[in-house]
Subunit: 488 residues, 2 copies
């Protein structure tokens, strides 16, 4: 039966109460679904139409023709019961937030229950005096920021997807974003977690104090574990003061992305720690111009967007500006709110660009040490030429984290939607470079389905085996998001 | 045989080549020592005089009358071989840096090899362009700071022991310090680790890039694991820019420690993030006056030491000063280097005070959310009165991390040096409070031997069991620092 969107076999989950289900099969799924319905657990969906929106994430990964069901949890108790039933019937569970991931981590797999946390949306506590916020996993990240602002504070992490992603998803991937360069990634703002384990038991890791070293740091272990070790059902987040003073924004256009990259590295010699330092290449600028009628591309093929904040924002921006001018950039500095928004829109738009295109995208996301960035950009450009693949660059350049996106014309896809081999070879070449430079295959997207092929190379055989054993310790039956992160 | 310093039985390690050793006994230790000597591994010490300095740390914990040997590693290969021989003969290994811990984590135990990393002191690489430094575990922390300064950067963590502790020890306990309130704890500066596993295999966790989410965060798991999961033999550390501008220091004296605490909490409403925020109580001020002829105690019984840095340091200090004045403090503000040093010496002295005293100290180290700090200080004072124990307070108050030190007259110790029951009851009462307030039993010292009795209470039975299983996964024979962290 060919895979066609809208006719997934999830509608065919047949309920066979009374029969003895075989674990890992559609029968087992049907039996588990029957039990969950009988127990009144969450909202159980099995029809093709209602489950289809849960089949994939934003990575473009196509899960193919798979049978799965969806349970929308209404409480922590629902999550615990799903995990208990999963263990009893041997049915995989795939935790899911808003499905905005770029690595296929939340994609459906055969015979699984997609466990949606998207309706657990309460901000259950906010404590301005301690700088804490307690949330359920389905809260949209920007709503946490809004709640913090309402009490004069801020939730620092700001993934580009903040308006559409959930905090649970951010935690599952240890999401980064635009201001990590000064304020850190998701992990740096997570103090404590409530986690449902594979067997359904609930634990509370961490503490509400800023510091703590009691036992192993399971909070850090769960952050970024992509739903393979447990299901995050609550989080205590750290809130920071809103920076004093005004924000200063610099747009610096360079002739090439390589020149812009070199200039970004030079900025650090000033001793200023910018609150944002982003790179956008010429292809992205052209697309924005096409879409919005702007003329950014005419100003250069490499744009740095830089911000400073705090009481010294103006003085810091002046120091950075001097370096950018010396590096040959065409510079614009502003602290005007409207103009700042227009400039930031360039970056926001690139992340939210959902315009229909005659191509699909393979998102790479490696990170390298700062002093190898120029070499990495050269390698990306050489790889593009060598394999005849358009590769665009968008980067949290201040963190050394590059999004190199391979654009593959749909006409070049295989009959089953498979990417052409040269796309993978191009990705292989860039990944090999990133690792050789001391970097990593993924800075913030996670491994999911799409980066599994390189994980063993990065970790080495011994550590890979140790990480696999860790997975087995937390999830002996391999029922939590199985098939993700590890290839075998 | 009574325990007396200087006559430990470590001198009695007898070498019995040829005999079949029984694991976990002095015989096994002797056989392991013979093998290590034959293999030419490190410098092997077994005499009482040479091993005595390795028996304890700064916690005051007395390991008693134990047999142990010492191997001073000269290379990573030495560490690997010690771990292999440990596994073969069933001999425990206790990794050790400078022995400056406050929880007994490095204390000797029966039949163990103390594995000293203190001679692995190379700074093997420093990369100013990327802001990275690669070090061996035995480097003294302040030497890393000096090496960073030499290239215009800084290693941010600054535990009060920085002049005498090793980076390996800092990593083992996830050490905090004076500037965590703005710049984070040790974990926040560790990008990658080289770790020798229980069986002797070497793995490399993390990456040299600032960000990375490939697989589980084993780097964070090893940081703070107190030598119970593996032996850290190398670390890649993040270096930050030296803050621009001048540092401004405020000394604010209050009538009571409670008043100083309340004022410290109020500071956060300004939106300023100080680079240091420390509390020192009246007992400490009196002791400094006695020792140095100063008159700090006459100015109050609660001192806040506050710093701001960066280009806006003066403006930020002014905002903080206003709050402290309104809170009734007697205030002194300076950006003079000499006067700053004099004020900081108050804090440094309290950590390095090794003056002989007719008392011993039980160091508590809990942390609570900021808005519970005043209650916590009240509870400490009430506990002191209730159990008739002098309890002094020194705090990284900006992080909510309190060092409450119980001072027990030597005359009240048991014949075997045991603390009187009321000291433990007083500690129990404070720990119960810290946990009730949502805090932790240890903010930065670790569990070691002295805080094991409370760990299960903090973690809960399920998480405690999970953490024990994690230990067993990494160290199936329980040979890495056994008996530490977990009670059973």
């Amino acid at each position: 039966m060919p895979a066609t969107a809208g006719s997934r076999r999830c509608g065919s989950v047949s309920e066979v109460p009374g029969a003895v289900p075989v674990p890992g099969t559609g029968q087992a799924l049907a039996a588990a679904v029957a039990r969950l319905r009988a127990d009144g657990v969450g909202v159980v969906l099995t029809g093709a139409e209602t489950t289809l929106p849960y089949a994939r994430d934003r990575s473009g990964h196509d899960p193919g023709d798979v049978v799965f069901a969806v349970v929308v949890a209404r409480s922590v108790a629902d999550v615990q019961q799903v995990c208990r039933v999963s263990a009893e019937f041997g049915v995989p569970v795939i935790p899911r937030g808003a499905g905005t991931g770029y690595a296929g981590g939340a994609a459906a797999t055969e015979g699984a229950i997609i466990l949606s946390l998207g309706k657990l949306t309460a901000i259950t506590g906010i404590d301005p005096d301690s700088g804490l916020c307690v949330v359920e996993p389905g809260v949209i990240t920007s709503e946490i920021s809004a709640a913090a602002r309402a009490v004069g504070l801020r939730y620092a992490p700001d993934p580009a997807s903040a308006a559409i992603s959930t905090i649970g998803g951010n935690i599952a991937t240890n999401a980064g974003g635009l201001c990590c360069v000064k304020y850190g990634v998701t992990r740096d703002s997570v103090l404590a977690l409530d986690v449902v384990l594979a067997g359904g038991e609930l634990i509370h890791t961490g503490h509400r104090s800023i510091k703590g070293v009691s036992g192993y740091d399971l909070t850090a272990l769960f952050v970024g574990s992509e739903g393979t070790l447990g299901v995050v059902v609550g989080a205590t987040l750290r809130l920071l003061p809103v920076p004093l003073g005004s924000v200063h924004t610099i747009a610096a256009f360079f002739e090439t992305a390589e020149q812009a990259t070199a200039a970004s590295v030079d900025l650090f010699a000033t001793g200023v720690r910018p609150s944002m330092l982003e790179l956008i290449d010429g292809v992205h600028l052209s697309r924005i111009d096409d879409w919005r009628g702007s003329d950014f591309r005419a100003r250069g093929a490499g744009l740095l967007l830089v911000q400073t904040d705090g009481l010294a924002a103006a003085a810091e921006a002046a120091l950075l500006r001097d370096v950018l001018v010396r590096s040959g950039g065409e510079i614009e500095v502003t602290d005007d709110a409207r103009r700042t928004d227009e400039l930031l829109d360039i970056r926001r738009w690139t992340s939210q660009d959902q315009a229909p295109r005659p191509e699909i995208t393979l998102n790479e996301d490696f990170a390298v040490p700062r002093h190898r960035l120029v070499e990495m950009v050269r390698l990306i450009e050489a790889t593009s030429a060598r394999f005849g693949v358009v590769i665009t660059i968008l980067a949290h350049i201040g963190d050394g984290n590059l999004h190199a996106n391979l654009r593959i014309p749909r006409s070049e896809l295989g009959p089953d939607g498979a990417l052409p081999e040269r796309a993978w070879l191009a990705a292989d070449a860039m990944i090999a470079g990133a690792l050789e430079f001391g970097g990593t295959i993924t800075g913030e997207h996670g491994i999911g389905m799409l980066k599994r092929r390189w994980l063993r190379t990065e970790l080495g055989d011994v550590q890979y085996g140790l990480q696999r054993s860790l997975k087995t310790l937390f999830d002996p039956q391999h029922l939590l998001n199985p098939g993700k992160v590890f290839l075998d």
